[in-house]
């Protein structure tokens, strides 16, 4: 029984996606932080070299006879050389006038004492890092503020930074992949107890309503406890309804049996035609109602069972022969002979109780509608489908009603005077359909009905 369940997402997918999403966010944050930190450190390195260069130039500046002399130390610039051929600029200002160097490295305006580092741009658009410091040189009568700026383009820094970024990105991607794998594993292992519970319930037979006994994780305890309570209630309800049906049948049938026995006994004692007629119709009414009650209860049970077929391997021929043995005394009373034609065992996987009930109904029908001293042929064959064919020598089905006879409480026009509830064919059809088969009604060319029951 697969009924539509309202599905909303998958626990496993949701968990996997959450974990992978978390890992992705973490990887990006890691990348950003490491890169920022690396950029800061690299910049600090450049800045301290630039500052040292500035200081060494400043140290070389002296004031002699009112003029500033700078004995430009070679090391001041050579310490800045890099593998990437970065360009280096310098500028020496005295009281804001350029003494020597690159004109565009204008000292920071305003204050006379400046020191620090900043980013600037050359006229050709290259980004440069500038370090500036100034010192006041005091001569005999003059005070000069010497400002030295040294700048360098950032290509080497950029190369270093790119290298670090690439490595960090690779590391982040690796971290992400590993986390993704871990999240698949984690969600699979979390979902395992749920799967185990599901399969242990799905494997159960239809009648097994015992509580789940295998251990479950603590988060599932309340779910399993509710499930157990529900199954307990269902079990009780089923047992109660089965008992109820049995009890109801007992309560109805026992008094009917008493009345029938008395009516029958009375019939043997009375001679008057009128009384005999009344008694006979009384017995018929009793048979009618008890048969209807029986068929209704059987039908209720069959409807319940068709939802939960208890299939097992059985031999259709053997089942039929047993049924025929049971029904032979009844057939004998009308001198009807039941013939079973079967060449081989016909193995089917079916619900024995349902099959028995359906076939008994069909043979019952054949016996009821057959004339006295006639034959009922039952043919069993395994190919192409396991099939049972019952042919009688009665009047056959009314041709215009043949399509509707297997619907509930429908009886043919020729059924007048024959005791029945109109449920026999319905039961047989429902059983056949529950097993994936069909029930076909037809009339034989030479007269008589033919019922084909296939699985």
């Amino acid at each position: 029984m697969t009924e539509a369940v309202n599905v909303s997402g998958s626990l496993r997918r949701r968990m996997t996606l959450t974990l992978i999403g978390g890992a992705a966010v973490l990887a990006v944050v890691l990348y950003a932080v490491v890169r920022l930190y690396a950029a800061q450190i690299a910049q600090q390195g450049q800045d301290s070299i630039l500052a040292a260069s500035v200081t060494s130039i400043l140290d070389a500046a002296i004031l002699r006879d009112g003029t500033v002399e700078v004995d430009f130390p070679y090391a001041a610039l050579s310490m800045l050389s890099t593998a990437s051929d970065d360009r280096v600029f310098y500028a020496i200002h005295k009281n804001e006038t350029l003494l020597s160097g690159y004109e565009h490295l204008s000292p920071p305006d305003g204050t006379s004492h400046t020191s620090g580092t900043y980013l600037a741009e050359t006229p050709d658009g290259a980004l440069i890092r500038v370090a500036t410091d100034s010192r006041t040189l005091v001569g005999a009568d003059t005070r000069s503020v010497i400002t030295v700026s040294v700048a360098q383009t950032q290509e080497a820094l950029q190369v270093t930074l790119n290298g670090i970024s690439r490595n960090v990105a690779l590391f982040g991607a690796g971290f992400f992949c590993l986390s993704a794998l871990l999240s698949f594993w984690a969600s699979a292992s979390t979902i395992t107890p749920i799967r185990r519970l599901t399969s242990s319930i799905a494997r159960r037979g239809p009648q097994d309503l015992s509580p789940v006994a295998s251990p479950v994780p603590s988060e599932m305890v309340s779910l399993v406890a509710s499930l157990n309570r529900l199954m307990g209630r269902l079990d009780k309800a089923l047992a109660q309804s089965e008992d109820f049906i049995a009890e109801a049948a007992h309560r109805v049938r026992t008094p009917l049996a008493t009345v029938r026995s008395h009516a029958e006994a009375m019939l043997h004692r009375v001679d008057q035609d009128e009384n005999r007629k009344a008694l006979r119709s009384m017995v018929r009414a009793i048979d009618e109602s008890s048969r209807a009650a029986g068929q209704l209860l059987d039908h209720a049970m069959i409807t319940f069972r068709t939802d939960h077929l208890e299939r097992k391997e059985l031999d259709l021929t053997e089942l039929l022969q047993e049924l025929v043995l049971r029904l032979t005394p009844v057939a004998d009373m009308k001198d009807i002979t039941l013939h079973v034609e079967s060449k081989e065992p016909v193995l089917v996987s079916a619900d024995a109780i349902l099959l028995q009930n359906a076939i008994r109904n069909l043979i019952d029908n054949a016996l009821k509608y057959s004339p006295v001293e006639s034959d009922v042929m039952i043919h069993v064959s395994a190919r192409p489908l396991p099939t049972l064919e019952i042919r009688d020598q009665g009047a056959g089905f009314p041709q215009d009603q043949i399509a509707h006879l297997s619907s509930r409480f429908s009886r043919g026009d020729n059924a007048k005077g024959i005791i029945g509830s109109g449920l026999g064919l319905t039961i047989a059809q429902e059983v056949a359909e529950a097993h994936g088969g069909a029930l076909k009604l037809s009339n034989l060319p030479g007269g008589g009905a033919c019922v084909t029951f296939s699985l």
């Binding site: 089965e242 049906i245 049995a246 049948a249 007992h250 109805v252 049938r253 026992t254 009917l256 049996a257 008493t258 009345v259 029938r260 026995s261 008395h262 029958e264 006994a265 019939l267 043997h268 001679d271 035609d273 005999r276 006979r280 017995v283 018929r284 009793i286 048979d287 008890s290 009650a293 029986g294 209860l297 059987d298 049970m301 049971r326 032979t328 005394p329 009844v330 004998d332 009373m333 009308k334 001198d335 024995a352 109780i353 028995q356 009930n357 009821k368 006295v372 001293e373 005077g417 024959i418 005791i419």
Partner: protein, 221 residues
Amino acid sequence: MKFLLVEDNADLANAICSRMTQDGHVVDHADKILDAFAYSETGDYDLILLDIMLPDGDGRSFLKRHRAGKKDTPVIVLTARSQVSDRISMLDLGADDYVTKPFDHEELQARCRAVLRRKSGTGQTTIRMGNVVFDPVAGSLTIDDAAISLRNRELRLLELLINAPGQVFPKHKLFDRLFSYDEDVSENAIEVYIGRLRKHLEPSSLRITTLRGLGYRLDYD
């Protein structure tokens, strides 16, 4: 034949007993399992008719103990339940057949005969009359050692007549015993069977006499 009827409903039990006695059988009646054991221990029964729902327990427990005690007296269960699974478990427990209440008395008789035929074979219920040997359970008739095959209704008719030779059976009485309640035929249908039986009995010392307006009687020379 000797029957044990285990049935707690007194009304129904009376009806069954009186009917069985009418047919010439001996019936003991127990209305609870305890009594049923007592009867079955002491009496030698041909067949036990067993109800399932009894005041002091389930008829199935009787069946179980009955079979465990190596008794092979056939048992026919009278059940008021209609659930098929119930019937199957009944047969598994060793019942030979079952009848669902309310039942046709003729059907019960037919089932008893079938069970007895299967279980105990033939020869126990033989009736001899002149050159006729008749076994209603086996359904065999021989006249001067020649076997004659009879149909079921002819057999039942002969059984009725042969059990009370010299007694007059009105037509309707024979009709009630031979025809089921849902057969829509007139009482004159009995004449066909009388005619056939007469033909079968021609070589015998038995004769069926028609008493106009009264019925039929079996006489023998």
